[in-house]
Amino acid sequence: MQPYVKVVSRTACAIAVGAALAAPAAAKVEGDKIILGSAISITGKYSQEGKNASDGYNFAVKKINENGGVKVGGKTYKLEVKYYDDESTPARTAQLLERIINQDGIKFVLGPYGSGPTKAAAPVTEKYKIPMVEAEGASRSLFTQNYKYLFAVLSTSDYYLSPVIDLAAELAKKHGKKPSSMKIGMAFENDPFSLDVRQGVVTEAKKYGMKIVVDDKMPRDLSDISATLTKIKALKPDVILFSGHTKGATTATRQMKEMNVSAPIVALTHCESADITGKFNGAAEGILCPTQWAETLKYKDKLFGTAMDYNEAFLKAHSEYKEVPYQVAQGSAAVEVWADAFKRAGSLDPQKLRDALAKTNMETFYGHVQFDKAGKNIGKPMVLRQVQNGKYVVVAPTKYAAEPVVYPRKEAND
């Protein structure tokens, strides 16, 4: 072998071995700190939601550290989150997770924002057998892939509007009608999330024998749903459902008012992020909005106290928020779940932590958390809030209701 080739190959070997030894040990635990990693949207179209999620993560991390941190096998650690910006693109999320795991050596992952990025992240964490607790990816399809290292604290998207169908059946019975006599008019955006929401509705409607009279799918760049609304106006369904992210909620609320379209029950997803009460006042009145969490719910834990305590503490710390979006709350819940798993596992070994996460069964201010085999939280329901006098009030399921539902819906004149 030529001498210089030897030198080159030896140097290369040394660098490779050095890197292999140095990198992973460097960052998963630094001194008395456990580092969690997350690729989250800081720029791009999900930057607002990404901020909500990371604010939630940070708030819980701070609170846990203030309360002494987490005890793992006799030693106490503080938590810290290392963030990367995934620019709201799933492909970038996957790249960054490779980096977090391979280069930074982080073994504990918090999820990105949104179903798309989470879908891109899950195969990576799965490949390296690194557990990920996510709080912002609700797509049903995340939990049909037999992932072993993915855990979600939130309810999946097929439960977003299906409680509306249950409520419709309940109200029909109460008013002496058969549930099967209720007609549904609905439109969903043609994207994985909204179609999951639709699937949940279709399954539930079938259960009650309700008829779906309008079933449109809105393309992603559609900003006008007047054709669909004209059809709904002609067919007069008892229940109107729309789901198409912020744009869908904004467009639906605005155009329903403009075209005088309503029904005894109207429900939308993304009411809060679209700020329909702020933008359209009276036109938003009586609309039902599903939510993962509301501050009036009677959940509590040791760390934050009740949901209302959490709400107040967060608003005090973050004056830029007027109300706490559920994206923030579930972010904090994900960190609590990690802290709980560290304690119970008594180890920093990813495999042991995975097993501990799978056995999670805890009360939080965000609701009960218990994972099924697929890793989704089956411990808490979706709740429905109705816009009443410009405020979101929990009305269903009845067990959690703060006020009775206003039925049939009454709009207000600004």
């Binding site: 720029t43 791009g44 179209k45 999900y46 930057s47 607002q48 439109a187 043609n190 079933d215 449109d216 799918k217 809105m218 393309p219 760049d221 559609l222 900003s223 006008d224 749903i225 007047s226 054709a227 669909t228 004209t230 059809k231 106006k233 002609a234 067919l235 912020t246 744009k247 904004t250 467009t251 605005r254 403009e258 075209m259 005088n260 992020s273 679209a274 700020d275 933008k279």
Partner: protein, 300 residues
């Protein structure tokens, strides 16, 4: 599907609703497509940032509205600002790619589109915003048909602007210079027309039109930094269908597109709205190809 057709025959009043909505949608697309056709025809730049200029105009409208200016009034200053922005853009960027090949200018305007999107995102945030004109709506046929006043006003504004453009291009010296440059830039230069000035003017006028359209879009639909693409795509479809240099054709095509979208949305469902449009475009192109072929054969 036939159920939906039946609704239209049993209750023909819904046809009125579809036509009204379609025409008002089409009028806004007409404006955007009109600007695109102008730039395309004169400078042969295919402006991929067309829709993003629309969004930018809309957001300027939002900025004015936050300072208490009514959106309708804001159209004027927004168009003026966008005109200047177009001028600067031309001087800084478009001018350097105008003589280069198609690919370079496509890349350049694509880059421009991304820059505008991200700048709007940084300045205004990614939330969906709307402008409220607050005019209420007009109801007809026992409230079976309703249309907002703002849509009717927008329709009138779009027609007015388009009419003014036609007059400007045919009657004024500057308009004639623009048309001459579009026909043959070299000949125009020989005859003493400052083609560089004509190009920058054309690009600025387009930006101003987009700005006005943006404010209208904000009053009728929604604004978001990344929604410009929908307007770019439709503008390209309209201009391709109508043919370059056929400005009345662009307006007719845009109005037609609006109405066809409404009908296909009603009868086939919202998921087929765009497929219908693209299908129709394909048919038009095939038909035009056949015409050309016949023409060629006749010449031979």
């Amino acid at each position: 599907m036939w159920d939906n057709v039946q609704i239209l025959t049993v209750a023909p009043v819904f046809n009125v609703q579809l036509w009204l909505n379609g025409l008002s949608v089409g009028a806004v697309f007409a404006l955007v497509a009109y600007g695109l056709a102008l730039v395309w025809g004169v400078t042969s730049i295919k402006n991929l940032a067309q829709g993003d200029l629309v969004m930018m105009g809309g957001y300027l409208g939002v900025a004015f509205a936050r300072h208490g200016v009514h959106p309708i009034v804001a159209i004027v200053p927004v168009a003026a600002i966008m005109f200047c922005f177009g001028w600067v853009l031309y001087r800084l960027m478009i001018r350097r790619v105008i003589q280069l090949d198609l690919f370079t200018s496509l890349l350049a305007t694509f880059g421009l589109a991304i820059t505008i999107q991200q700048a709007l995102n940084l300045a205004f945030g990614p939330e969906v915003v709307t402008l409220d004109a607050g005019f209420g709506q007009l109801e007809m046929f026992d409230a079976m048909v309703s249309i907002t006043w703002i849509r009717l006003i927008a329709f009138a504004i779009c027609l007015l602007l388009a009419g003014a453009m036609v007059l400007f291009l045919t009657k004024s010296r500057l308009g004639q210079a623009i048309r001459a440059t579009a026909q043959d830039p070299r000949a125009a230069r020989v005859l003493g027309i400052d083609t560089d000035l004509v190009y920058s003017l054309t690009f600025s006028i387009n930006a101003a039109i987009c700005g006005a359209a943006g404010v209208i879009v904000g009053m009728i639909w929604v604004l978001q930094p990344f929604y410009g693409i929908a307007y770019s795509v439709r503008a390209f479809v309209i201009v391709t269908a109508a043919g370059l240099g056929n400005l009345p054709g662009v307006i007719l095509a845009a109005l037609g597109l609006g109405v066809v979208e409404q009908y296909s949305g009603f009868v086939l469902g919202a998921q087929f709205q765009q497929a219908t449009i693209v299908g129709l475009l394909l048919l038009i192109l095939l038909w035009r190809q056949a015409l050309l072929r016949r023409h060629r054969l006749a010449l031979q």
